[in-house]
Structures are given as structure tokens and as C-alpha cells.
């Protein structure tokens, strides 16, 4: 039933099922944090382990088993996000936006280009990151982004994918990507301000 290891080295003798035991939960969390869908995340773990069996000869044992498996999963996740990206209907696409610069987010600014409401002072952001509720708030704010903005933002900022890479694989121009990332960042910043740093806003807000 089980594949016979061709070479007697320890690593290749490892049964793939032990990968599942040792790293399955970790890989699942990794996948879920990106694709936001349990069934998809499970499928990605399975695909990863199957790909790992095929590719085990390429593993040189220098990285840890987990790092190696995560590397495979990472590629699968990116492929998946790209597919999802293409499937999202066009409504919230930048392409639908034909004003001269297309950046939008005008509601944040007065007609003369000044802030309509100045960014509030955030008290001790560094300390916020030590609070687990802060991370819940941040996740929630990311969830609330429009689908394409969210996917781009997650790829770019959570995942660290390069702009060129994103544009090439999603078939959008760097300008479009820039516009959507801008919108995502503006919305996120405001969301965090209202939902996390909001309490402090009243104390420090100075109206222009």
C-alpha cells in the first residue's frame, strides 16, 4: 500500500501520513488564514501532501520538513487566490471606474484636497499589537474589504508578493493594482481607527 522508499535515508523513509500527523494542523491554519474557506483549505493541504510525495526527491533535508511543506503550500495558495481573483464579478473592479484618475476615495477629502477628517492620533500602536483583540479587529477589518481589494491586499501585504508578480498573474496593470491597494489601505486605516483606536479618537480629535 505504502510507497517503498527507494533510498534508505531517514527522511525518505518517512511515511507521508506522519507529515499529516505532524504538520497537518499547521498547514491547515496556514491555508485557512489565506483562502478563508474551510473546504478549500482542506483541499489545499491534501494537494500539498500529494505534491510533496511526488517531489520528495527534490527535498535536500536542509530545510525542516515543515518549512519544505509550507513552501509547497504557499504556491498552491497563491494559485488558488489567483483563481478566486479572476472569478470575482466585475462590480468592484477598478475597470468599472472611468473618472480621470480612478483612485476614488474622494469622501475622505474636501474639495480642495485637504483631509475631510484628519487622521486621528493613535495612542501607542506598538502596544496594541500585544493585545490579541487588536488582531481580531485587524482581521475583521481585512474581512470587510471589497473582495478584490482584500485579495490583492492579502497577497501584497500579508503574503509579501511583489507588485509585478501580482500584476502579471492577475492580468491587471500596475496602475490598477496601485489604485486597489490604495483603496484597501484607506479603508483599513479608517476601519482600525474606528474599531480599535476609536476610543482615543474622542480625546485627541481636533476639528480643523
Amino acid at each position: 500500500m505504502q510507497p517503498t522508499p527507494a533510498e534508505p535515508n531517514d527522511w525518505q523513509a518517512t511515511n507521508p501520513e506522519t507529515w499529516l500527523e505532524a504538520h497537518g494542523d499547521y498547514l491547515y491554519r496556514y491555508a485557512l488564514s489565506r483562502v478563508r474557506n474551510e473546504t478549500l483549505a482542506e483541499d489545499l493541504v491534501q494537494e500539498t501532501l500529494l505534491a510533496a510525495i511526488k517531489g520528495r526527491a527534490g527535498f535536500d533535508g536542509r530545510a525542516s520538513e515543515r518549512t519544505w511543506l509550507t513552501g509547497i503550500l504557499k504556491h498552491k495558495v497563491i494559485d488558488q487566490l489567483r483563481r478566486q481573483y479572476r472569478e470575482v464579478p466585475l462590480e468592484d473592479d477598478v475597470g468599472a471606474c472611468h473618472d480621470d484618475d480612478g483612485f476614488g476615495m474622494d469622501e475622505f477629502f474636501a474639495a480642495d484636497g485637504h483631509w475631510a477628517s484628519r487622521p486621528a492620533a493613535w495612542s501607542d500602536p506598538a502596544k496594541a499589537t500585544e493585545d490579541s483583540h487588536f488582531w481580531d479587529a485587524l482581521s475583521l477589518c481585512v474581512e470587510r474589504l471589497a473582495p478584490k481589494q482584500r485579495q490583492l491586499f492579502v497577497l501584497r501585504e500579508v503574503h509579501g508578493a511583489g507588485n509585478e508578480e501580482i500584476c502579471k498573474d492577475m492580468g491587471i496593470t500596475p496602475t490598477n493594482a496601485g489604485v486597489m491597494l490604495y483603496r484597501a489601505r484607506m479603508s483599513l486605516r479608517q476601519c482600525l481607527e474606528l474599531n480599535w483606536f476609536g476610543l482615543r479618537r474622542e480625546e485627541t480629535e481636533t476639528r480643523r
Binding site: Y28, W115, W135, P174, Y182
Partner: protein, 88 residues
């Protein structure tokens, strides 16, 4: 001079691509004079740093585990399909 709206766009773009000399100059000049945009710039960088932290946070949450049915399904797949392709 560049206004706050234009500045906010350029600040966002600066996270994704290298700015031109002219853009950098305009940005620096505006930030020198505008506290609100300096604050916005700091918050944008903070956002970028913390977003990267979401990656590791999600991984540390031990409450999230692979369900038993999924585990079984994957095990079966590994036996079935894994066995088709033994390491040569």
C-alpha cells in the same frame, strides 16, 4: 504644491514601487509642512507591518485544527494516489 489627497496616493504607491525623484521631492516637501499627512504616513507603515504579522498570528492559533473527516479523507488520498507514484 501637492495637496493631502495626492499625497495620500503617493504614500500608498511608495509601498509598492520606487518613486521618481520628482515624486519624492514633492512628497518630502508636503510632509515637511503637513502634520496630518505625516501621521497618515506613519499609520500606513504601521498597517503594512502589522498586516505581515497576520501571517504568523494565524499560524499560532491552536484552536484551529483539521477536522477528523478531512483528516481521514486526506489519509485515504495519500494512500490511494500516493501509492501510484512511489519514489522511483
Amino acid at each position: 504644491m501637492m495637496n493631502c489627497q495626492q499625497t495620500s496616493r503617493l504614500l500608498s504607491q511608495s509601498l509598492d514601487r520606487p518613486l521618481s525623484f520628482k515624486e519624492r521631492l514633492a512628497l518630502r516637501l508636503h510632509l515637511l509642512l503637513c502634520g496630518a499627512c505625516r501621521r497618515f504616513a506613519r499609520q500606513l507603515r504601521f498597517l503594512s507591518r502589522t498586516a505581515a504579522g497576520l501571517e504568523t498570528r494565524g499560524l499560532a492559533d491552536r484552536r484551529v485544527t483539521l477536522g477528523e473527516p478531512a483528516r481521514e479523507r486526506i489519509k485515504r488520498a495519500l494512500r490511494d494516489r500516493g501509492a501510484d507514484k512511489p519514489a522511483a
